[in-house]
């Protein structure tokens, strides 16, 4: 176990370093210097040159990467030239709300998809199973933002239960003061996730139901309830752990669309706004953090999987 952990951590570290290099190079090739955006289209070449010199953009790529790397290790994500403040501060300010959205929708999605998939497998080909499969197929093919617009149309505009506008407070506590306004964004994010999770959960449960130990459990005379709760649920839930680890980037991508659709002042909206403002340090930081979260998510998922399933031997 310890050897495996060390090796996995080593690979993860290499992957993270690779990510840092790739994201840095990508942005460097696309936009060697933000000078033109900062100074405006009418800036003189001399002004651009002196701005580049002042901010270190005229140095070699290696030197710039070195500075970037050492800044990163000190927890410094760079300076947002558009918003005139450190990116780290911006992120600390906006991360709680975005994190809450992702986390809450993930919990809702798992809480719905897990029982739903198991129910579908147990009642295979029943009316409930067929209609759940059909709904999953539709929502699986629907972009997250369209789910959001559909929810706005039904619950905000037609029924008038909630406001279509979400609180503009960018702090989590401020937004939670009007928690009911966050229901639609969370449901929109969760719906897309449920559509894909329940498909996996259903097929995983079907696989487990065909196993010999289920037959043995039934042959022993256990009631259906005991067979399902003791033998089916635990074994069929294992793939979900891997799936959650893998779905982090999708979830964060969804956050961008949802925050844009509902005009929520979180990291996703910051990313979209920074795109049009060419605020590359923000883009770089967001891409990097998401990528590192993905690596960590996969690692944690693998470790959780081995902890919950002794049959998986790590070598």
């Amino acid at each position: 176990m310890a050897g495996y952990l060390i090796r996995r951590l080593g690979t993860a570290l290499i992957v993270v370093l690779g990510i840092v290099l790739v994201t840095f190079l990508m942005l460097h090739i696309i936009a060697p210097s933000p000078a033109l955006t900062i100074l405006g289209a009418k800036a003189t070449p001399a002004a651009i040159k002196s701005w580049n010199h002042e901010h270190g953009f005229d140095r070699s790529v290696y030197a710039q990467f070195g500075t970037y790397l050492s800044n990163l290790l000190h927890g410094n994500l760079g300076w947002s030239f558009k918003l005139n403040q450190p990116v780290t501060n911006l992120f600390l300010e906006k991360a709680p709300l975005s994190g809450f959205l992702s986390g809450a929708s993930l919990i809702v999605a798992v809480a719905v998809a897990l029982p739903l998939g198991i129910y579908q497998a147990v009642k295979r080909n029943s009316l409930g199973d067929v209609s759940a499969t059909a709904l999953a197929m539709i929502f699986y093919s629907m972009p997250t933002f369209l789910v959001a617009l559909l929810l706005i149309q039904v619950f905000a505009l037609s029924l008038g239960w909630v406001d279509a506008n979400v609180p503009q407070d960018q702090s989590l506590s401020g937004a939670l003061g009007q928690w009911w306004q966050l229901i639609l964004p969370i449901v929109a994010l969760a719906t897309t996730a449920v559509a894909s999770y329940s498909r996996y959960q259903r097929s995983a449960s079907l696989d487990v139901l065909a196993q010999d130990y289920i037959k043995v459990a039934r042959a022993k005379g256990l009631s259906d309830r005991l067979v399902y709760s003791r033998h089916l649920v635990r074994n069929a839930s294992l793939p979900m752990i891997t799936l959650i680890g893998l779905s982090l980037p999708v979830l964060i991508g969804g956050n961008i669309l949802i925050e844009y659709a509902f005009n929520i002042n979180g990291l996703g909206l910051l990313f979209v706004n920074s795109l049009s403002g060419d605020d590359y340090n923000v883009l770089l930081a967001y891409t990097l953090i998401t990528a590192i979260l993905t690596v960590v998510g996969n690692l944690v998922a693998d470790i959780c999987l081995t902890l919950s399933d002794p049959r998986i031997k790590l070598v």
Binding site: M142, P249, L275
Partner: protein
């Protein structure tokens, strides 16, 4: 094969004719079997039907149903469905039905081209990594791991913002960043194929690596490749919709389904539902059609592999 060995004498009355029949059946049974299994799958056939409808709708539709998609008509904006406009008009006075046809062309074209690019790159990368193995394989797959960890939507957004906005650029951007999953799939397939006897035979006969890849490995992994391409198209159409929803897609006079939804979302609160939901339904139906076809093909190819 074993059956042929166990019966040294022809058991059938007409040896020559039945032998010939058997050989042709064996030669073509693979893909015929796939097709037969596929056509038995009602959902998959429905998917083909939906797809055919939208291809005709987008590419032949404008020839039958004429509407001006170039000149704005500010005297008839936001007309409700009915009258001369079956699906109403948008904020520029464009006919919505004609606009959905025009947007469908872009969405389908970019979906196809992007998926093709991704599959070609992914297939080659996976086949080379799988065949060479060892250090080369390890390095090539770590590259895939690294790129796979970087969120697709973020990268594509950053690059599309800089270089996007026409069909070819967007296809290239979406294609170049989505070959990772096919690369993994094909590598897995090649790892099992390369130790099979016919590949060893080809190698012993002096076949070069290129020959092995193009004549033996890729043709035998074709089932996986084709199934993957269908899902890739669905994903590319969705990704394009996300890009254009955030206003980083194609621009006037061109349009695609995501941009149309994006342009119309503010109009939703004014009750102009026809600007969002018809085009949304088209988007969902087309993506669903590709997913259904992909599911059907996967099952059919699976059956073929099992029976072969």
């Amino acid at each position: 094969m074993t059956a042929a060995i166990e019966s040294p004498l022809p058991a059938t009355p007409g040896p020559t004719s039945s032998d010939a029949g058997d050989i042709t059946a064996a030669a073509s049974s693979g893909w015929k079997l796939t097709l037969r299994e596929f056509t038995k799958n009602k959902l998959a056939v429905t998917g083909v039907g939906i797809l055919l409808f939208f291809v005709l709708f987008s590419f032949v539709g404008p020839l039958v149903y004429h509407s001006d998609q170039l000149n704005t008509n500010l005297l008839s904006t936001y007309q409700a469905p009915g009258g001369g406009y079956p699906l109403g008009t948008d904020s520029n006075g464009f006919d919505v039905l004609g606009r959905i046809m025009l947007g469908g062309q872009t969405s389908l074209e970019i979906g196809f081209i992007a998926a093709l690019i991704a599959t070609v790159i992914g297939t080659l990368w996976g086949a080379v990594a799988g065949l060479l193995g060892g250090m080369v394989d390890a390095v090539m797959m770590r590259v895939v791991d690294i790129l796979l960890a970087i969120p697709f939507l973020l990268v594509v957004l950053i690059i599309a913002h800089r270089y996007g906005s026409n069909t070819w650029n967007l296809s290239l951007i979406l294609g170049v960043f989505s070959w990772l999953v096919p690369a993994r799939l094909i590598r897995g397939e090649v790892l099992t194929l390369r130790v099979r006897d016919f590949v060893s035979a080809a190698r012993v006969m002096g076949g070069s690596k290129t020959h092995l890849i193009f004549r033996h490995l890729i043709p035998n992994a074709m089932g996986t490749v084709i199934v993957n391409i269908t899902f890739q198209i669905a994903d590319a159409i969705l990704a394009l919709a996300a890009l254009s929803y955030l206003n980083f897609g194609v621009h006037y006079p061109n349009t695609d389904w995501g941009s149309q939804i994006s342009d119309a979302q503010d109009a939703l609160s004014n009750g102009y539902w026809w600007l969002v939901f018809p085009v949304g339904a088209a988007l969902v139906l087309v993506v669903m059609a590709f997913n259904l076809i992909g599911d059907g093909l996967r099952d059919a190819v699976d059956v073929r592999l099992r029976k072969r």
